[in-house]
Structure formats: structure tokens, C-alpha cells
């Protein structure tokens, strides 16, 4: 097991960053206004839903192989916004799921999104469905759905592995507008090559704040940026320390952040 006592310096940073995020959340909740920069991939969501409406074809949302964790829940938060937008225009949605635990939550989120949009009667229980928890069985199921339904828009948010390109290229083949985001950095090049918009890195976690403009989430985002600034400072100081000969690897600051 990994414990804080294995590397107190790292544990201290985790605690400090947690406090920073909580403080910025509280200040945002108390009314402080924060600015959030434009994220083109998230702006494209409305465009993609509009296009699906014009074409009269369904919208596909795939949370990848995500389980019931932060990545999967974040994907559902983004999908919730997409569904609310789609529900206003009467678009049909499809959400194949690979993880049974996430499936149960996804069904509830979709139902509530329709209710929030004032269209609870439009919720189709068969629009959210469990396919398979086997990677390539799921991939073939989703690829089949894309080709059969000729989806107009495809949103790929969550954990993706080798199957990412199968989804993205299948979407390309049917001419779907595609927006993708994943925390798996190895899959980002595939999405960038095949999708119209790709959410990169921590933009994935910024999505819910960007979409909802909820103070709690905006505050959290600002906290993340402060933490990233600190991380950048650590990297610069570490690089300088390693580059200056009298300091080197034995310098206490470098030793703090060296994993042994």
C-alpha cells in the first residue's frame, strides 16, 4: 500500500492543494467572480447538437470503458448538459455503456436531464443500454450503432483505450461531427486525428465548470490553476537546481521530490 509516510513531501502537497481548491470553492460560493477562458471543444457541443437537429439523425454519447469513478462521472456531467440541449430540440440520443455500475447511474442521469429540460415524456429507456464489458465486444457494438444509425454527432468522453480510434474513425465514415475528450494521453493523438474537436488534458475536468458556470465548479477550477502554477514553479526550481553544478541531485529541494 502507498502511504503518506512513504513521502511526506508529496503528501503535504496533496493536502495543500486540497486546501487551496476548497478555499477557492468557498470564496466562489461567497460571490467572488472568476473568469474562465474559452474552450473551443466545449463551445462546439451546441453546434453539434444543432447539426443533428437539422439532419434529423441521432446523437451518440459514449463514456468509453469508464467505470463508476471520477472520469465516468465527469463524462456523465458533460452528457447531462448535451442531453438537456438535445431534449429542447427533440433529438434522439443513444448512449451505449460498457460498465454496468456506470450504466445504472447513466440511465438515471439521462432520465433526470430530460426532466430538467421539461421533456420527461421524451425519455426513451432503450436509449441508454449496456453493451458489454469486454473492450472489443463493446467497440464492435458501438461501431455497429454508428453505422446503422448514421449518427449526426458523436461525443466521446471518458476512459478510452485501443478502441478509441474504432469509434472516431467510424464516426468519420458516417460524417458525424465529433467532439472527444479523455484523460488517457496515449489516445489523444487518435482523437486529434479523427475528431473535429478534442478536449485535451485537464480541460476534461474543467468541462462541467465551463458548461454550468456554477460558482462551486468555477472556484474549483481556479484552485486547480493555482495548484498548476505551484507545480510549474516546482518544475522550474528543480530544473534550475539540477542545472547549477554546486546544487545538483543532492540539493534538498530536488531530494524532496525524488521518488526512491
Amino acid at each position: 500500500m502507498t502511504h503518506a509516510s512513504d513521502k511526506w513531501e508529496a503528501a503535504f502537497l496533496v493536502a495543500l492543494w486540497s486546501i487551496i481548491v476548497l478555499v477557492t470553492v468557498i470564496t466562489a460560493q461567497r460571490g467572488r467572480k472568476y473568469f474562465i477562458r474559452r474552450i473551443p471543444g466545449l463551445n462546439a457541443i451546441d453546434e453539434a447538437v444543432g447539426r443533428a437537429t437539422e439532419m434529423g439523425r441521432p446523437i451518440l454519447m459514449v463514456p468509453g470503458l469508464s467505470g463508476l469513478g471520477v472520469v465516468g462521472l465527469q463524462a456523465l456531467t458533460i452528457f447531462s448538459y448535451i442531453i438537456k440541449t438535445a431534449a429542447k430540440f427533440g433529438n434522439r440520443i443513444l448512449m451505449p455503456v460498457a460498465d454496468p455500475a456506470l450504466y445504472t447511474v447513466a440511465e438515471e442521469v439521462v432520465r433526470e436531464s430530460y426532466a430538467s429540460a421539461g421533456r420527461p415524456e421524451d425519455f426513451d429507456p432503450t436509449s441508454v443500454y449496456f453493451l458489454s464489458d469486454r473492450q472489443f465486444a463493446f467497440a464492435s457494438g458501438v461501431a455497429g450503432t454508428i453505422h446503422r444509425e448514421k449518427v449526426a454527432a458523436s461525443f466521446l468522453f471518458g476512459d478510452f483505450f485501443a478502441e478509441s480510434l474504432i469509434f472516431a474513425e467510424s464516426g468519420q465514415q458516417v460524417g458525424a461531427i465529433q467532439v472527444a475528450g479523455t484523460v488517457q494521453t496515449t489516445q489523444l493523438p487518435f482523437f486529434i486525428a479523427s475528431c473535429d474537436y478534442t478536449i485535451i488534458g485537464d480541460e476534461y475536468y474543467a468541462a462541467s465548470a465551463y458548461i454550468s458556470r456554477e460558482p462551486t465548479l468555477l472556484g474549483s477550477l481556479v484552485g486547480q490553476d493555482i495548484c498548476k502554477g505551484m507545480m510549474l514553479l516546482i518544475v522550474v526550481l528543480g530544473t534550475l537546481a539540477l542545472s547549477i553544478k554546486p546544487l545538483g541531485e543532492e540539493f534538498f529541494f530536488v531530494q524532496w521530490f525524488t521518488i526512491k
Binding site: 432503450t126 464489458d133 472489443f136 474513425e169 468519420q172 484523460v183 462551486t216 498548476k228
Partner: protein
């Protein structure tokens, strides 16, 4: 054995035979009752219960991480980690049943209503039953191994093989020279690919391997430099952002600060 462990051992002694069966049955009944109570609760109360359970579960792992460990890399809570993990597995197992029900509901309706493509649905349901029966009753037989190895694995391999074609079409699209960035990408990819293969390495094999500025022009050295000095830091930078983003969202979920989804609407209605 630490005090918590010994207390739990006394409170929940090991059971065998009929007592164990009774305890399991009792737990199942208690779970059903808990779910029914949760369903009957008004939205706000249910949200409070869910938030409390989420907090306690998260607190366990946070404490287990932050409490100092002894020489065996264990602290007062480490012994309970496998048990708490088993609880998660049990919950996951229950949801797998719901997933199977979803499949049966959708494909069963296709077969009953003879919708377009109902044959595929019938085949899927038949395959599911055959595989389940084979796995439960005939696990050690050639029949099951053949289903698994010769059928299921072959299908997986076939789907994986499709990737090769998709990679070509995606690479073609990515490397089309449409802009300065695409040109840079294409050149970098070409150098990295050439630097990895024997024929590419042969092109500059006459240059010194190291010890001279000319060695910097070797394709394998340029390729290695691109991978370790350009690509790796960029990936790490993305990783830092993701790590901190993950920490922030984990905090929001743990403390139930995340709004906009997960039963929020039901809670607000009541």
C-alpha cells in the same frame, strides 16, 4: 492485531455452516431493506444519506493514506482495505445483473416484436445463455475452452485487427500538409518512424554514434530526442494537469460539492 481489528473480530466472530448461511441471508435481507428505505426517502433526505455514505467511504481511504505506516507498510486501517474493496466488488457484481437485464430487455423486445435485425438479437441472447451455462457447468471442458478461445478471443482479435486500417486512414488525415502545424507533425512523425526502424537507422549509420556534434544528425538520435525531450515533457505536463484536475473533482465528489447531475433534480424537486 490492532485495537480496531480485535474489536471487529470480537463483534463479528468467524461463522461456519448454518450460522454462516443465516448471516449471509440476514445481510441480503438487510441490503434489500436498506434499498427500499432509500427508495422511500424524499429526494433531499436521500441525497443527504448518499452524501454521508460517500463522505465516510472517502474518509476511510483518506485516513488510510495519511495515517503513518509501520515497518510492514501498514497502519491501523490497512487491514480493512481488502474488505472495503470487496464491498465495492459486491456492489459492482449487483450492477452487472442490471446490465444483463438491460441487454435482455432491449434485445428481448426486438425478438418479441420481430423488429428489423431481430435475428441478431436472438443470436446474442442465445450466445449469452450458452456462454453462461458453459461457464457455470462445463468450465473444465473443451466445449467452454473452445467457446472462449476459438470464438470469443478470435472475435476480439478480429476487431483489434481493424485498428490497423483505421490507423492508416487517421494517419493519412493527420499528416496531410494543410498548415505549418501539420507539416511539423508530419516531419516529426517521419523522423521518429525512420529512427525506430532498421532502414531508417541505416540512412545515417555512417555518422558517429556519440562524441561529436555530427552524432546529433543521426536519425535514431533525433528520434530519441523528439521522444524524450519534446514528447515526454508535454505528456508529463498534461499528466500534471490531469492529476490536479482529478484531485479537485475527487474532492468535489467526496464532499458532495458537485452539482448539475447525479440525482440533483430529484433532490431539488422535493
Amino acid at each position: 492485531m490492532n485495537p480496531i481489528q480485535s474489536f471487529l473480530s470480537r463483534a463479528f466472530p468467524a461463522l461456519h455452516g448454518g450460522a454462516l448461511a443465516g448471516a449471509v441471508a440476514g445481510c441480503v435481507v438487510a441490503c434489500v431493506v436498506a434499498v427500499l428505505i432509500l427508495q422511500a426517502l424524499p429526494g433531499k433526505a436521500r441525497k443527504a444519506v448518499i452524501a454521508a455514505v460517500t463522505f465516510v467511504a472517502g474518509l476511510f481511504y483518506a485516513l488510510e493514506f495519511f495515517l503513518p505506516a509501520n515497518g510492514q507498510d501498514e497502519n491501523i486501517l490497512t487491514f480493512a482495505v481488502p474488505t472495503v474493496g470487496n464491498v465495492t466488488n459486491v456492489l459492482g457484481g449487483m450492477t452487472l445483473g442490471l446490465g444483463v437485464l438491460s441487454l435482455i430487455r432491449i434485445h428481448g423486445a426486438n425478438v418479441v416484436k420481430v423488429k428489423s435485425g431481430w435475428e441478431n438479437s436472438a443470436l446474442l441472447l442465445t450466445s449469452m445463455v450458452v456462454m453462461a451455462v458453459a461457464g457455470i457447468k462445463f468450465e473444465q471442458t473443451l466445449f467452454y475452452r473452445s467457446l472462449f478461445r476459438d470464438v470469443l478471443n478470435s472475435f476480439d482479435a478480429a476487431m483489434f485487427a481493424v485498428l490497423a486500417f483505421f490507423i492508416v486512414s487517421a494517419a493519412y488525415r493527420a499528416f496531410r500538409i494543410k498548415s505549418a502545424e501539420a507539416t511539423l507533425l508530419m516531419v516529426a512523425a517521419l523522423v521518429v518512424m525512420l529512427g525506430q526502424i532498421p532502414i531508417g537507422q541505416y540512412l545515417t549509420h555512417w555518422l558517429p554514434v556519440k562524441g561529436s556534434y555530427l552524432s546529433l544528425l543521426r536519425l535514431d538520435n533525433i528520434s530519441n530526442w523528439l521522444l524524450t525531450t519534446v514528447n515526454a515533457p508535454a505528456q508529463r505536463a498534461i499528466g500534471f494537469g490531469l492529476g490536479i484536475g482529478g484531485l479537485a473533482i475527487a474532492l468535489r465528489i467526496w464532499l458532495s460539492l458537485e452539482r448539475g447531475a447525479y440525482f440533483e433534480a430529484k433532490a431539488d424537486e422535493s
